[in-house]
Symmetry: C2
Subunit: 603 residues, 2 copies
């Protein structure tokens, strides 16, 4: 395989075709995204417990890095709500909010999570993200959204309150609610009301007065900017800060210093686990946004190259006093709707944010924190998806269990434990389910070559020939279960001469499965029963041919089940299977599978 | 379900049918096993770093407990080599060998591991043992056998040497080899030579002089007893102990005190992980021995009740100054061959060991440690199975990787880490393999109703209808992989009108898989391609019916693939598929599956 630089530097591909009209479209999108990003960056920095300028810093260099390495044409990277929450949780374990060590920890998290993503990308290990199931991700995002919204209520009320999980946050709010600052509350509630109704009613209204669909969407998305401007004017004119309304105050007017944080082996090691979780969650969030947008324009994103792009972005945040970043849904959607065509739009946005940092921040002096909190609340509540919980409950109890565990642990213990438990439980339940596979006794559908489950169809079976269809790959976790099942059947069928294991759904047989087949073959031989296989798949057969099993097998391997029955059942009396014969088995029969009722002719 | 006491107390079942001839057979077996167990119990206590009487104590009460609760008729429980090694590793983390705290730790390990087994049994969680794959167990036993044998060499040489892993043990032996005690070495080597040749030549010889197969087998197994007697006589008569031969000295002549060790929260917690591993390994070892023996007499063991029986046995060891026990291969085989018919034989053996503890130990005063070491070495080297390593290598690289990791980590780091890494790696590799499933493009075998992989068979396909057979259950780890595959195919087949996903091997679709199917359906709809499913299994279909997917599906669900083709391919020109058309795809095509060559008509 030849080395193509454009594979690792997608900029070389789209850069070649860059035209004047592309430039104009990208510039327009950049201006719109910049305006939207300024309050969002400040708000997410506040959520992460960091000084406001850190949010701006995280929206400059990372955008340039992603423009060079990323594969999505329209993804906008920067601070996002969930990574801000996770950063606060991780840095909070190292130092108190507001301390230099805390800020330092956030920078280290950006470097570490970026390096992890980058390395995974180099080794093409994007598949690791697949081990986060949809219900776990969905549950995690919903729970995080609820926690984030709850944590911002203190800013709406204008009180001091702590708490690391939902329970603590609510208790703290209850304890301090008497200290509520009325002017702050008015600003906060007004902002919330404006932002929620803007989401709901502004777009239809703007469409009503003649704006295009696209323009209306963009105007609605930039709603927070109006809230920001209006609230700054209100506070500045009425000097509400003197009445206790907390404001942004001075934001340092310089660009981020470039450099690496001090290397303290212990702290870096302590943050490594959190950084791994941040990188995983950030990657999953970003890739799903990127894929959704790419699909709309028939473009593709390469998950492994995305790891490199997002890794480069977070590492750039780390060397420029920022904190972990990833591709965000809201900003990417705005970028997309505003007509961005290439990642250059991201680079232009970075220039916009840099200019804003230098020249705009003095005008944000009077910006009330309550307005930032309101923008966060409105943004994260759109992530809460309670309908998904109901749907998963209806579809699969296993998936629901993993989702519920993720939500409950995230809400009441913390984000890191929540996602870890969710992933572990979903993996365990998957393994548990495949360790007790479905086996079906099958018979021939009269007059056809088809064989079906005796419990679901009217089929013909024989006393001398029994066919068990194995509905799972055979591997270590279920190999013994198959043995137990076969031995149980054997004990209940004294007349049996031939046992056929029908394998159309056996996609893989590992070494443990092979040993179980060998043991079954041996045991049946001693009992005078011949073992046959039918409909073994090509790749499975290839592998069995490398062993002695096929030589030791007492019976044959048939390509089709029909051939097997034709061959074996000639001298056997055939009898219609009694689908609902009365059961005479003891209630605690040793048969391991509850679904094997049909395997016992006495039932 | 009614409560049957005999289910939880198997003694009630076999006790009812207990007859005079059963009693005689059980008594004979008990005498033979007692004679064999005395040196073995002493030897394994030495291996565990415990005083000799602890080995005897662990062979009294646990046997009675297993007789009451166990389901195997012939399993003999007691100290075994691998659990002795694991006990030494775990207790060694708490205190130095020889200290009271070390002995105490061994007792706590017995209680904890017994309690874990008992609780797992109550909750019928025997399936957990299935997560230890055959190659991991086999590799672990082989590596443990090698370490144990190496650790006993110091006793053969009569030197002091430490070391916790193979590397350290060999280095220590090298450092101290100059201190070798010649009389000890002579005794050790003579014992080894005698025991190895007894294994190999004694049985044929005894058969030659007219003994029955059974008698010859038993006499061979009790070989260590002869070595013990001969070496005691030699040391006592020649007073070799005065020449530096280490002997057993006095063994306390009392029965074990019954009682619980002091409860120190920290130490119990520290030992919990080790106890869990000990219980798991002990259970797996014991159940496989019990099942092998039961199969020979057409009896059954119930794994969940075995958990209770082994749990009760280890807990009894814990309250009677013993250490973790389980069913051992060698002693169970002797018990079986000696004609034991019921667990009563175990209870009689317990009486025999108790009598030996009270009256026989003075005669063991001069027993050289080198002879005990020799019996251990001979016993464990029979566990080393290098052939299995070759076989697994030939059959499956994944299984081999897990096995090799288990062996290497066990040998060079330790037993606990070894088995943990082995289990984790085998689970990960299983998940990894199922996360990149095999997909096959299928076509119709001319003149039949069968559909086969285009890369393996000469089949007929169509330009307008494409069928992909999914050879794996759809779950979170491979859901995205399916999406990527379908989108890739879509990009390469501009004329496509219908896509059929053929699902005879899809045993399960979880919520993530469902979301991917929904996404595929939506995406194909936008591209003007209709999505169909065929040969969906009953249980999968039942579940899909609980969702809106079947309503949203643009196409149909066909019971048979043949029907689907009959229905969809009427107006489409059918073309024979070119099996080996030249490839014009770029080398780094975005198609995720290497095996999907056939999916692209240009190839």
């Amino acid at each position: 395989m030849s080395f193509r630089p454009s594979k690792y530097f997608p900029i070389l591909e789209w850069g070649r075709e860059y035209r004047r009209e592309t430039l104009i479209n990208d510039l327009i999108a950049a201006v719109i995204v910049t305006i939207m990003l300024i309050p969002q960056s400040l708000a997410y920095a506040m959520l992460a417990g960091l000084p406001p300028q850190v949010g701006l810093y995280a929206s400059i260099l990372p955008l340039v890095a992603y423009a060079v390495f990323g594969t999505s044409r329209t993804l906008a990277v920067g601070p996002v709500a969930i990574l801000s929450l996770m950063t606060a949780a991780a840095a909070g374990k190292i130092a108190a909010q507001g301390s230099d060590a805390y800020i330092q920890a956030a920078v280290i998290l950006a470097l570490l999570s970026g390096a992890i993503l980058f390395i995974l990308g180099i080794f093409r290990m994007g598949f690791l993200a697949n081990f986060l199931s949809h219900p776990v991700i969905s549950g995690f995002i919903t729970a995080s959204g609820i926690i984030i919204a709850a944590s911002q209520l203190k800013h709406i009320l204008g009180i001091d309150a702590g708490g690391h999980n939902l329970f603590e946050i609510l208790v703290e709010l209850g304890r301090h609610i008497g200290e509520t600052n009325i002017p702050t509350l008015i600003i906060g509630v007004a902002s919330l009301a404006f932002l929620f109704s803007a989401r709901k009613y502004l777009k239809p209204m703007l469409r009503g007065i003649g704006l295009s669909e696209k323009a209306a969407t963009i105007a609605t998305r930039t709603g927070p900017v109006f809230a920001v401007v209006a609230s700054i004017l209100a506070v500045a004119l009425l000097r509400l800060d003197e009445d206790g309304v907390r404001i942004l105050h001075d934001v340092p007017r310089n660009l981020p210093a470039i450099g690496l944080p001090a290397f303290d082996h212990d702290i870096w090691l302590q943050l490594l686990g959190s950084a791994a979780l941040i990188s995983l969650i950030g990657f999953v969030e970003s890739v799903s946004v990127a894929q959704t947008l790419a699909a709309k324009r028939r473009q593709r994103v390469d998950p492994n190259q995305e790891l490199i792009g997002l890794g480069a972005a977070s590492m750039s945040a780390g060397i420029s006093s920022g904190y972990p970043v990833t591709g965000g849904l809201a900003r990417s959607a705005v970028n997309f709707d505003a007509g961005a065509e290439t990642p250059a739009a991201g680079a232009f946005t970075a220039v916009g944010i840099a200019l804003a940092t230098l020249f705009l921040t003095p005008y944000l002096y009077f910006l009330p924190q309550a307005v930032l909190a309101a923008t966060i609340i409105v943004a994260v509540l759109s992530l809460v998806d309670l309908k998904a919980i109901r749907q998963v409950w209806a579809y699969s109890r296993s998936d629901f269990a993993a989702m519920a565990a993720t939500i409950i642990v995230t809400l009441f213990s913390g984000v890191e434990l929540g996602v870890t438990i969710g992933v572990a439980l979903s993996l365990f339940l998957h393994l548990y389910n495949t360790s007790r596979p479905h086996f079906a006794l099958v018979g021939q559908v009269p007059g056809t070559h088809h064989f079906r489950n005796v419990n679901r169809h009217e089929v013909v079976t024989s006393d001398k020939v029994l066919t068990i269809r194995i509905d799972e790959s055979l591997y270590f976790a279920n190999a013994r279960f198959l043995e137990d099942t076969v031995y149980c059947v054997l004990g209940n069928r004294p007349d049996l001469k031939h046992l056929i294991l029908m394998c159309p759904a056996v996609n893989r047989i590992d070494a443990s499965g092979l040993e179980s087949l060998e043991a079954i073959n041996q045991r049946l031989k001693e009992a005078g029963v011949t073992l046959h296989l039918s409909e073994v798949k090509g790749p499975v057969m290839d592998r069995l041919k490398r062993t002695h099993f096929l030589e030791e097998l007492t019976g044959k391997v048939y390509l089709h089940q029909y051939e097997a029955i034709q061959d074996l059942d000639t001298d056997c009396a055939r009898s219609a299977f009694e689908k609902s014969a009365p059961t005479t088995m003891p209630a605690d029969s040793p048969c391991p599978s509850q679904k094997l009722a049909g395997l016992d002719p006495q039932r």
